[in-house]
Amino acid sequence: MTDQPSLADAGADNARASQSRIGSRLPVLTATAASILLGAACTAWSAIPDQGTTGAAFLLFLIIVCVVGSALRLSLGWIPLSEETYLMGAPLRAWLSFLRFIRVPPWEEGAAITIIWLELLHRSRPWHTAVLGAALIAYLIAVHLAETGSTPAALRPQVPALAVGACLLALGAGAGMLHPAAAGAGSALLRVVAAVAVIVAAGLVLPYVSTRSRR
């Protein structure tokens, strides 16, 4: 055929493709593994110490379901779904239904909400919560990298914002460690409002300071 690339070229492309197939999947595999580990770490971090209540146990169950669902979605997301299942056997059809199902629910959102909820059940422990916040952000970033197949280099523009975010996280933890000025319902709320003000102020100032220091 006149407008056809030569078979030699095509063969070479094919050979290169088979060689680079594993290489091209490596960032996805790494990010998937990282997200699974971070999900497990967040779960464990928010669960300890054990509350011993039914509510906490139920929340822990929900977190595990969400994190496992997310891990399955990321691990099995590359499998193409056939639309024609009429001639397939029952086991294969059930497998495809399972694959289709795990792609639908927002597992990570569910995991984030339930992890925060479980953390709320514990008494105030600001630095513990700050570490959990950092791990949750890392978890969500790893999930994003795994599902888009991007390398961490794609997130380079976000590094300054993440650095500032880490400072705000520390600031929030510090605010949480301050004791209330006086007993009463208004005192705690005042503490929250003050923390909001500090965090917002820092959020406005820190990027400016970091930009100046780079200059």
Partner: protein, 426 residues
């Protein structure tokens, strides 16, 4: 979704922008943490929400309303299992990450992973079965630098023809009597060819260089070498599309088309005129014998176009003379399952056509233990043998081809010497 043009025209596409899943997750985390902080009055949760809020607030990127996309297939026709490249390029997406995802159409396989990143990419696909195929659709996803919004564009790729992969055939069956037309086959008459034919006595006007001095010395008179004439023949390929039995990919019809494609290529390389008749339910499509490389593609396209072309009842008597020229070699690819087709072959033989049947039936009814099943299977086999025997009795050679071996193997007994013309004495 506007279809991509096969001739690489640039088409401007509207981009559908929406919040990315990453942004939705960050938003969920931030809202959950803020609500927790306000409800439980615990400021450390505000710190937890801060990085996510900061990322959401800081993310500002270019979001063009339209992008210009070019998707160019390397060809609009390919053989089975041949690799076809799709070159995709996007302009107007500066500062954005571009990801292409190809969803191949039915019967088309991805050679490599179906996704690629970059403004200009090459995706490879390979059709696995002949027919009119669709490349599928390409989804282009644009992501801003902060990964908070995604722009989606779907492009429907054009259709293309996938031709059956021709079998191997290097040798050719040649008729004993060839029409008086210049070609490459040595005829049984002397002429201006290059193959030695015989010796005759010198007559004035003969070339001096053709004198055979050894024979002249022996006989005492001048003798000259004569050479065989070189002629071409008309070949009509008859593909039986009435029954398609067997495993998909190696069914009787698959083998018939691959064998016909191989024969067309082999005979056209020898400068023969090759035509095709496709016999199917309710009619026959045909292409008059012709010469040249393009004729291979015309023949294959005629075989693939089952619903178009000439269709006037299931009898070869109604085919025009151009479709079946007198004296043509007719090569039939058929599983010989349709009795009407077998009758049509007998009819053609009685009309004086020289024929050769390539039997492409490679399956049998399943062997089951029940007596009636075994009996039915035995009767079926005897019927099949009877059909082939009756055709051989009429002087039509029937050879069996399994589709994996080169076609030269079953045709070998007939390619070593010329095939006797119908009506000739063997």
């Amino acid at each position: 979704m506007p279809p991509a043009s096969p001739d690489s025209k640039q088409v401007e596409h509207l981009v559908r922008w929406r919040l990315s899943r990453h942004a939705r997750r960050l938003l969920t985390l931030a809202l959950a943490a803020v609500i927790a902080a306000l409800v439980q009055r615990r400021p450390e949760f505000l710190g937890l929400a801060a990085p996510a809020l900061l990322l959401l607030a800081a993310g500002r990127g270019v979001r063009p309303a339209t992008v210009t996309i070019t998707v160019k297939p390397s060809t609009t026709r390919a053989f089975e299992r041949e690799i076809v490249a799709l070159d995709a390029a996007a302009t107007g997406a500066t500062g954005l990450d571009v990801r292409w995802t190809l969803r191949p159409g039915k019967g088309v396989d991805l050679v490599r992973t179906g996704s690629a990143d970059g403004a200009e990419v090459r995706l490879l696909v390979s059709p696995d079965h002949w027919g009119r195929r669709e490349f599928g659709t390409v989804e282009m996803v644009l992501r801003d630098r902060w990964r908070l919004t995604e722009g989606h564009v779907d492009i429907t790729l054009p259709r293309f023809n996938c031709y059956p992969h021709p079998a191997e055939q290097d040798t050719r069956v040649v008729l004993s009597r060839l029409p008086n037309r210049l070609g490459e086959h040595s005829a049984r008459t002397w002429g201006e060819g290059s193959e030695f034919f015989g010796i005759r006595e010198y007559v004035p006007g003969d070339r001096q260089r053709s004198i055979n001095w050894a024979a002249s010395t022996r006989r005492g008179r001048l003798q000259v070498n004569t050479f065989a004439a070189e002629r071409s023949q008309d070949v009509v390929l008859l593909a039986d599309a009435t029954s398609d039995v067997g495993e998909p990919g190696s069914s009787a019809l698959d083998l018939a088309l691959r064998g016909s494609a191989a024969a067309a290529r082999a005979y056209l390389q020898a400068r023969d005129r090759v035509g095709v008749v496709t016999y199917q339910w309710g009619g026959a499509d045909w292409l008059a014998p012709g010469l040249g490389k393009r004729q291979v593609y015309k023949i294959i396209e005629t075989m693939l176009a089952s619903d178009s072309g000439w269709s006037r009842g299931a009898s070869f008597r109604k085919l025009p003379r151009a479709a079946l020229p007198p004296g043509a070699l007719v090569i039939v690819f058929s599983p010989l399952l349709d009795q009407r087709f077998v009758e049509a072959l007998r009819d053609m033989r009685e009309r004086g056509f020289t024929m050769l049947i390539v039997d492409v039936l490679n399956v049998e009814p399943p062997a089951r233990p029940r007596v009636t099943d075994r009996l039915a299977r035995r009767i079926w086999k005897m019927e099949q043998e009877a059909i082939r025997f009756s055709l051989r009795e009429l002087g039509i050679p029937v050879v069996r081809w399994n589709g994996t071996d080169p076609l030269d193997l079953p045709l070998a007994p007939y390619t070593r010497r010329p095939l006797m013309h119908a009506g000739s004495r063997r």
